[in-house]
Symmetry: D2
Subunit: 99 residues, 4 copies
């Protein structure tokens, strides 16, 4: 499965979340799971227990210095399929190339 997730705590004085996003991305990369971070979400691939453990760790890192944390998750769950982080994009690009 792939989860796309986005976590927000209280922003700093400039309205920027970049510092806390960096902390989250560091946790994600340290997990060793395939991931990709774009302007809106971090996509993470693995089994339910693996990916949710990482998301929980990120939430805990945020609640450590924010009294309130907002989390948005979208998951694409397709048992028996792996490598979807790349194959889904490739599959679309191939069709566009044919267009």
């Amino acid at each position: 499965m792939i989860v796309a997730f986005s976590i927000a705590g209280t922003p700093d004085d400039s309205g920027s979340y970049a510092e806390s996003v960096a902390e989250v991305v560091r946790i994600v990369r340290d997990s060793g799971l395939p991931s990709e971070t774009n302007a809106m979400f971090t996509n993470l691939e693995g089994e339910w227990d693996e990916v949710m453990a990482v998301v929980k760790q990120c939430v805990d890192a945020m609640t450590a210095h924010s009294p309130r944390v907002s989390l948005v998750v979208k998951a694409d769950i397709r048992p028996g399929h792996t490598g979807m982080l790349e194959s889904k994009v490739r599959s679309v690009e191939e069709r566009l190339g044919d267009g």
Copy 2:
């Protein structure tokens, strides 16, 4: 924390998801956690491990008869706060009553 979640598998021939939504709502109510189901999401309140165990059980029920399942989650995480399922709505209504 409160999670709002919505799960969709492959719809039945009429395009209806009501049967599988009913199955999910049954799992949620059997969990004993405070919950509320509206037209778009089921809201569920508890600690991370409690609510995520219920969401996982719902996903497993869906993957049992759908090859692909889509899950959307929005969580409001506020350590030390409980009863938010009712207090958040009441808090808004009170302000509207003052308006």
Copy 3:
């Protein structure tokens, strides 16, 4: 179609969003469209242009006093269907009653 939407600006000093949520709910109710506000989302039913005009008006009200606004929307688009705000919940409850 139904849209479930949630808007967040910068929280006030207590970490509460209730004042700005109240402002959004007031705009929604003034729109005259069928709506329902729960602990996590406001559900709003109508045609695309109708509901999106209301969502835009809510976003504008938030950006008037927050430098950065986060919006989450989930829409269930089913042309030719109306009254879904109630019928979707009733349909699930009927199945649960049969269970």
Copy 4:
């Protein structure tokens, strides 16, 4: 503002959405707005009316051959800021490089 959006109609017989995703991505690219498509969402940057017109066009393309369409949108609205599709990722990477 940036919107991340994901549209799903009824999947084809193989459970694949790639054909309809390709149609959506084609509409997005023809719009001329800055965009990026990853495994879970398409990110699109512009003013509210611009990006929402594109999202509506994508929804219309889906409803043309699916009786029911699900749309998920997350928007980051920051008036006066442009080029966020790249600057947000760069800002995080810079902090990680310093880590």
